[in-house]
């Protein structure tokens, strides 16, 4: 049993690495394992029947009809020589016996395991309504194919439930195709959970400028079908009824951790807790040495953000964390690296490129340091306890690395650098207007989930079986 004696070298030569989750994080981790000289057996387990594919184009090019939903396969960095178990969900984990249980009953033994099971779209809360023809979600390639076919059929009106990033990108694609859209958002503005109310107000203007029927402070109370089981209309919390041929539920994501219930890992609705080296914690808050975590399903402490555990549903995080996890899987203790990636993401909607670095929801205040909100072209810097904690740009992405360095060096907030095109005295901070975190909203891309899993305030709640 190569890993039992803790010998990374033995594992590297002859071990069995099992990667559960065959999407971006799983693929990049597998490639990194091979890149770093892992010569053992590699098994890739994925619940979807498809080879690893890229998801960002699904809510953009694919919905616009420019790219087929099956045409977003991820480019490979190298050949893997792996055994692929696709269309096979992992259903359980036996930590003591080092075995992953599969849906078909088969068991796969591992020496070292990487958990990269990601998230899935949060389904509509009422099952019978979710089953109506015309009620859709968007997460997988198959979801995107279904939604693209729907849009090809020229629906008279689409209802988008939730104005986070996914919901807003779907809305944007519909409008670009000339399809009428109503958006129902529980919060006061689109993107408010991720970027706050000040920037959210600009997102709301974008919706209005593109002819979206945007309804904020509204929830959908029921979806109603006709006798044939087709969606007919939605009932809204303001008492009105809206006729729609399709409803896209864009209420964020659910982490795929149910299969780990009872395994003894610190896994729950907020993800699988791991250390900065991507090693999973068990329920006692003790780090394991042969189970690693990467991607959307991981939550790990970040030194730049007070060692708070962060869950990042970001494309770039999946890549960076997978690389660190794989490196650490084949490296002895002193050579292991921490995952210190600066959170970053992008979104294209209504012809605007929205980018972010850092953790905007930690910011209490923001300052517009370039451009202006009125032009919808700007860079906003977010502050937390007197330092720069995040930056968000609308069509100002080229300057983002500069703000990234401010975050990494804990530069003071409000920023004190000289600006050539601004009034003297520096930018004036204003409240960033994040909603009360106790109120649910949609589409935060960073979840702050407390400190160490062993801390008293954090309670382990096993997933409902």
């Amino acid at each position: 049993m190569p890993a039992a004696d803790g010998s990374a070298e033995e594992f590297r030569r002859r071990g069995h690495a099992v990667v559960v989750g065959a999407s971006l994080a799983g693929l990049r981790a597998a490639e990194t394992l091979r890149e770093e000289g892992f010569a053992g057996t590699l098994t890739m387990i994925g619940d979807e029947p498809h080879e690893p594919y890229d998801r960002p184009p699904l809510s953009k090019q694919v919905l616009l009809g420019r790219t087929g939903a099956g045409d977003t396969l991820l480019p490979r960095r190298r050949a893997l020589e792996a055994r692929w178990l696709l269309g096979t969900a992992a259903t359980g984990l036996d930590l003591a016996g080092r075995r992953v249980r599969l849906a078909g009953g088969e068991e796969v033994r591992y020496d070292r395991l990487l958990i990269a099971t990601g998230t899935r779209a949060r389904p509509w809360i009422k099952e019978t309504e979710a089953a109506l023809d015309g009620v859709l979600t968007l997460r997988t390639g198959d979801d995107a194919a279904r939604l693209a076919r729907r849009l090809d059929a020229r629906p008279r009106r689409v209802l988008v439930i939730g104005a986070g990033f996914t919901g807003s990108e779907i809305t944007s694609a519909c409008r670009e195709r000339g399809i009428d859209v109503t958006v129902a958002e529980r919060g006061p503005a689109p993107l408010v959970g991720a970027l706050g109310g000040v920037v959210g107000a600009v997102a709301a203007e974008l919706h209005h400028a593109h002819g979206v029927d945007l309804r904020c402070g509204i929830t959908v109370t029921a979806l109603e079908g006709d006798p044939a089981g087709r969606l007919r209309c939605a009932h809204l919390s303001d008492g009105t009824t809206l006729e729609a041929d399709a409803a896209v539920v864009a209420l964020g994501a659910v982490r795929n951790t149910e299969w780990l219930a009872g395994s003894g890992l610190a896994a729950g609705p907020r993800g699988v807790a791991c250390d900065a080296g991507c090693r999973a914690f068990d329920v006692h808050g003790i780090v394991t040495d042969d189970v690693f975590v990467a991607g959307d399903v991981a939550r790990s402490p970040h030194p730049l953000f007070g060692y708070q555990f962060l869950s990042l549903e970001h494309w770039g995080n999946a890549v960076a964390q997978a690389e660190v996890a794989a490196h650490n899987m084949v490296s002895p203790g002193p050579e292991r690296r921490p995952h210190l990636w600066l959170p970053a993401f992008w979104s294209a909607q209504f012809g605007i490129n929205i980018k972010s670095v850092g953790v905007p929801p930690m910011g209490r205040e923001l300052a517009i340091v370039q451009g202006s909100l009125a032009e919808r072209r700007f860079a906003a810097v977010y502050g937390h306890q007197g330092r720069v904690i995040a930056a968000v740009t609308f069509d100002h992405g080229r300057w983002l690395p500069f703000y990234g360095r401010l975050i990494e060096t804990a530069a003071p907030f409000p920023p004190d650098f000289a600006q050539v095109d601004r009034a003297p005295g520096g930018p004036r901070p204003i409240p960033a207007e994040f909603p009360d975190p106790a109120l649910p909203t949609h589409g935060p891309t960073v979840t702050l989930s407390g400190y160490a899993p062993s801390e008293r305030r954090v309670t382990f709640v096993p997933a409902r079986v």
Binding site: P57, T67, W315, N353
Partner: protein
């Protein structure tokens, strides 16, 4: 495409206009799996990207543009 890296220099849209297009001033649209007849265009686009945001693989073996080979990402 690593659009975290992309800074909208639009070199790819000049080199491979059938594959890459600016959508607005800064957002980039691209064809994720362009046909083999676009190979030369795409390789030129990948080579000309100032921030090396384009990763290319063709059937018959992965090909990584120079500079992106380490996979180090900001």
């Amino acid at each position: 495409m690593d659009l975290n890296r992309c800074e909208a220099y639009a070199q790819c849209a000049f080199q491979a206009p059938d594959v890459f297009a600016m959508h607005g001033e800064e957002a980039l649209m691209y064809e994720p799996c362009p046909g083999d007849e676009r190979r030369e265009q795409v390789m030129r686009a990948a080579a000309s990207c100032p921030v090396q945001a384009i990763l290319v693989e063709w059937p018959g073996g992965p090909a990584v543009p120079e500079g992106a080979a380490t996979g180090a990402r900001g």
